[in-house]
Symmetry: C2
């Protein structure tokens, strides 16, 4: 993966680092890969890494740190994971205990950082291909659903696959399969399309996370594995201690979306 | 495109050439590309070539001869288009006038041969990917339908797109889009999936060509552009003279299916 022309991404990180940016990162540093964040103590990191290996569609790893090391040079040379995300969530035994903008007081020398690809990248590719992304059109969050599809468990990490949904006309759905198949590092091809009940979704108008979007005449819902899956799985595992990003407040990396494409 | 290990394909052609083979070619010379055939007088060949250029999904050309030349060395070195297909159909003003096994008495020095990719190749790829092909399971012909999608006309050649249909579960349909997208020389990705009415198909149980197949619980019909389209378009244009293969009696080439794949 190339890293170049990374000024915009670095600028976002420096704003977060200085405390000037504490809000969501959608539309910031366009073209750059943004990542979901999971930070776990070393004694859980092995199982979580295995969980990601077994569930690459919801958990495509774009970077994993050394234990205790707050740097992640594979994603950006000067990245400091303790300060470069605008807002974090700190969890103890499954309970949210803080939403800091800086991890300095929480950092431990046994923490391992997992950066997980995010759908912002493939939505970029869909828009570039002329495909509609309804929740962007409607200015809301993508609708997400817990499904009846179970992830492959690893240690304490287990639970249902969470999917995101974008409505498309059939010919657009075929094009979207092509476009997103080339991006396995950010969830890849859809996991389902058509009848929501087949994957255990009873009411498409009531997402479990995010906002509902309108499905127009002739469109079918198309479902992708979602980066909320690992968060949901971690919440279910209730580790003594862990850190995630606050929803929408992503890690902005120096990787380019276009460099993730297989072709 | 490589040509090697072509003994099996050549054997089929030599059997047809000698008159020993006059039946369908399905399952003969597995792995080799079989092609639809359209032979037209030179004064129509330019428009038909343009029609194929404008409609690459139903009319993917794998070879076009020089006018009057019965050889097609791009498909096989010793191929003689007048004798190497098991059975032909000869048309005059849109009427079927003969079904010979040899074109010797009909050949003219202004005839241009068009060889058009056929779904046998992508069905091979689907089976290799572990995907079901229902009409093969059921031992019948693939169901085909005239649609409300119009082809891009060229000269006298115009008319509706004809599609073939294979029922798949949604996850299989996604995989089938991936597999067949890599094979644009043999119709490529599906053109539609799901609701047949959206492309003007009123009754999925009543195909316009071929045989109906069962669609099982949870499956959706998946539609590909079909090589019957050019035949239907030629029938509609009613040229003074033309020749096609008899249905199912294809031209067996020395090209390998696997060499058609983009990846």
């Amino acid at each position: 993966m190339n890293r170049h022309n990374a000024t915009a991404a670095r600028e976002v990180r420096l704003l977060a680092r200085s405390g000037a940016l504490t809000g969501p990162t959608a539309n910031l540093a366009p073209g750059f890969v943004q990542a979901n964040l999971a930070i776990l103590p070393r004694d859980l990191a092995g199982d979580f890494l295995l969980f990601c290996q077994r569930n690459p569609k919801p958990c495509p790893l774009v970077g994993v740190s050394e234990a205790g090391d707050p740097m992640l040079p594979v994603l950006a040379e000067d990245l400091d994971i303790r300060r470069d995300v605008p807002r974090y969530r700190v969890w103890e035994n499954g309970d949210l205990v803080a939403e800091p903008t800086d991890l300095e007081p929480y950092w431990r020398d046994d923490l391992v950082t997992f950066a997980i690809g995010c759908s912002f990248s493939f939505e970029d590719a869909m828009l570039a291909a002329g495909l509609p992304v309804r929740h962007i059109e409607q200015g809301c969050n993508v609708p997400m659903y817990r499904t009846s599809i179970q992830t492959q468990p690893a240690g304490p990490f287990a639970g249902p696959l969470v999917v995101s949904m974008r409505p498309l006309l059939p010919a657009q759905a075929i094009r979207a399969v092509q476009v997103t198949s080339l991006l396995p590092a950010v969830h890849g091809a859809p996991v389902h399309l058509g009848d929501p009940a087949m994957i255990g979704i009873d009411d498409i108008a009531k997402p479990d996370y995010g906002d509902p979007v309108s499905i127009r005449e002739g469109e079918m819902p198309v479902f992708w594995a979602c980066g909320v899956t690992p968060q949901s799985v971690i919440a279910h595992a209730r580790p003594d201690f862990c850190i995630t990003h606050a929803p929408g407040h992503m890690l902005v990396t120096d990787l380019l979306n276009r460099d993730l494409s297989l072709l």
